[in-house]
């Protein structure tokens, strides 16, 4: 059996390892399109802040890991798929035959529609190559503008803030991390950044980036309010989109990402998709969504591989969740944190203490949560949501004091 995996991120690597575990003899080819060992994009900010070397981002640390498992790791970029023939064509024209194909091609950063992105010193922060480019310009005298304060932007924000002289963040939405934060949480984050001398401009768009010759940097970021900010370095983090362009004409159904069923199989038999490129079942909504998060990527990778092995593994859907530290302030969100129609909530806000917990219920089940400043036992929120635990009289207690969530969990699991 020839298994081909395109994309060497977490989903691809976990899939390759799962395939090997289940079949000692299969041919397993893992194709990545960057000249690096498989690595974690998530870890790039920690390289930028100097906590780890580039090798610290590698998904597997053991020398010879892939060779040792008989996984052929090679470089290549997918150009097209001929599902009827079972072939994948790489740029350069080489074709690779497969019995089972896993599409784990991840996502690519989006660009804001403004002029000046091609100026030197304007970078995405997505690949290790980007990381090296940013690191060259990052020093204690550097003026840095970060465009985008979404989830990825906020993770990068922490690393930039630690290493640069002056950081300005420009976000077009009315609050930070609008996809995982309500107004209370987003406002708290923004206040926190302000207290750390980081200027965060929300509801503000960048009109363009121009070459400049001032002492403040060789670039000027022009905002839609007319203000101009000098910068040595501009970092873009305005979002990402799944890499599905190479599937055009393949007949494989796509929407935002590759549409997959509960076996992570696409509309083409024998072709699977996993991770940031896959549009699979959302546990909370019952709809099909792209959840570009690490836990979903590894779960997708494992379950897709089990199905590639013919084991009929069924996926109950992924729970959207995130955890983030913004210059030290930890925030997390789970499932339907914005609440559901006819549901109830329990909220505790401590503006001065930068602490917030919002729990959302449907009936007596927890369905979503949003937290700031929580670092202990946060995982039980996932447990309670995923288990659809009937909270009974604990629901009322949690509405009174959401911070008793771990107690509620222990009460239900241990008594």
């Amino acid at each position: 059996m020839q298994h081909v995996i395109v994309g060497a991120g977490p989903a691809g690597v976990v899939a390759a390892e799962t395939l090997r575990k289940g079949d000692r003899n299969a041919d397993i080819v893992l194709i990545g399109d960057e000249p690096e060992p498989p690595y974690s994009r998530m870890a790039i900010p920690y390289v930028l802040e100097g906590m780890i070397e580039q090798s610290g981002t590698y998904l597997r640390k053991t020398e010879g890991h892939y060779e040792g498992l008989g996984i052929q790791y090679r470089q290549g970029r997918a150009e097209s798929v001929a599902a009827a023939d079972g072939t994948l064509t790489l740029s350069g024209g080489e074709t690779v035959s497969y019995d089972r194909l896993l599409i784990a091609t991840g996502a690519t950063p989006l660009s804001p529609p403004v002029p000046g992105l091609d100026l030197p010193g304007v970078h995405n922060c997505w690949t290790l190559e980007d990381c090296r480019g940013i690191a060259k310009l990052l020093n204690e005298d550097a003026n840095v503008v970060l465009i985008g304060a979404g989830f990825i932007g906020c993770i990068i924000l922490e690393a930039l803030a630690k290493r640069c002289g002056n950081l300005t963040v420009v976000e077009m939405e009315d609050r930070m991390v609008s996809r995982m934060m309500d107004a209370t949480a987003g406002g708290m984050l923004q206040r926190w950044c302000g207290a750390k001398n980081i200027r965060v401009l929300t509801s503000t768009r960048v009109a363009g980036i121009e070459a400049a010759s001032g002492a403040g940097g060789d670039k000027a970021v022009v905002l839609d309010n007319g203000e101009t900010i000098d910068a040595h370095l501009v970092v873009l983090a305005v979002g990402v989109a799944p890499n599905i362009g190479f599937l055009e004409g393949s007949g494989i159904k796509t929407d935002h990402g590759v549409l997959v069923d509960q076996h992570l199989e696409s509309s083409a038999k024998g072709v699977f998709a996993a991770g940031d490129v896959a549009q699979g079942l959302d546990f909370s909504t019952g709809e099909y969504s792209v959840h570009a998060i690490q836990p979903t990527a590894t779960e997708h990778g494992r379950i897709a591989a089990l199905n590639m092995l013919g084991q009929n593994a069924h996926y109950k859907g992924s729970l959207n969740m995130n955890v983030l530290a913004t210059v030290g302030l930890v925030s997390s969100s789970f499932g339907s944190w914005e609440g559901v129609a006819g549901g109830d909530s329990g909220v505790a806000v401590d503006e001065d203490g930068y602490k917030y917990l919002r729990l959302e219920f449907e009936g007596d089940h927890l369905v979503g949560a949003l937290g700031i400043g929580l670092t202990d036992h946060v995982g039980v929120i996932r447990g309670l949501i995923q288990n659809e635990t009937a909270l009974g009289d604990w629901k009322e207690r949690l509405q009174e004091n959401p911070h008793r969530v771990m107690e509620a969990y222990v009460a239900h699991s241990q008594t």
């Binding site: 870890a43 640390k61 546990f283 690490q294 779960e299 530290a325 995982g379 009460a411 008594t415």
Partner: protein, 159 residues
């Protein structure tokens, strides 16, 4: 023979010796807030429940770690965090549905029970044998395992 922590809440008096022993041995401070085992006090029922990682087979934390910083100790079965490799991204803290991985802001790393390398201090410190370290096959792990299996239904394969 692999061993595991066996917790019998009915024997717990809430003395918190386990929390002190854990934080002292692992973090060098007598500080229950830094303990990897936690005693929950249900005042209204007069009930104390010590709670920590069961070193579950699913190993959600280990699967979710993006930098290979959590590994399996083949001897004890513990899932162990490497401080040298952990970048403090906290993904494991939301991935673990049992809530047994915590983020330690003072070190910037996550902490979880590692069975103290096979000689758990909490069990040694417990004066009432509410926490014991015994052969895995005959501990009362069943209840935890059942709970694990139920949780498993959320996002694991039914293969």
């Amino acid at each position: 023979m692999q061993k595991s922590l066996h917790i019998d809440p009915d024997k717990c008096t809430g003395c918190l010796q386990c929390e002190l022993a854990c934080s002292h041995v692992n973090e060098g401070v007598f500080n229950p807030a830094k303990s990897r085992i936690k005693v929950f006090n249900f005042h209204d029922q007069g009930r104390m429940v010590p709670y920590t990682c069961t070193q579950c087979d699913e190993a959600w934390c280990m699967q979710a770690c993006p930098v290979d910083a959590i590994t399996l100790d083949a001897e004890t079965g513990a899932k162990v965090v490497s401080d040298a490799l952990c970048v403090g991204c906290k993904v494991c803290t939301i991935a673990c549905p049992f809530g047994t991985v915590n983020y330690n802001a003072s070190t910037g790393k996550v902490i979880k029970c590692d069975l103290c390398g096979g000689d758990p201090e909490c069990a040694k410190a417990c004066p009432t044998a509410a926490i014991t370290y015994v052969d895995a096959n005959w501990t009362g792990l069943d209840r935890m395992r059942q709970w694990a299996a139920k949780t498993d239904a959320g996002a694991q394969a039914e293969a």
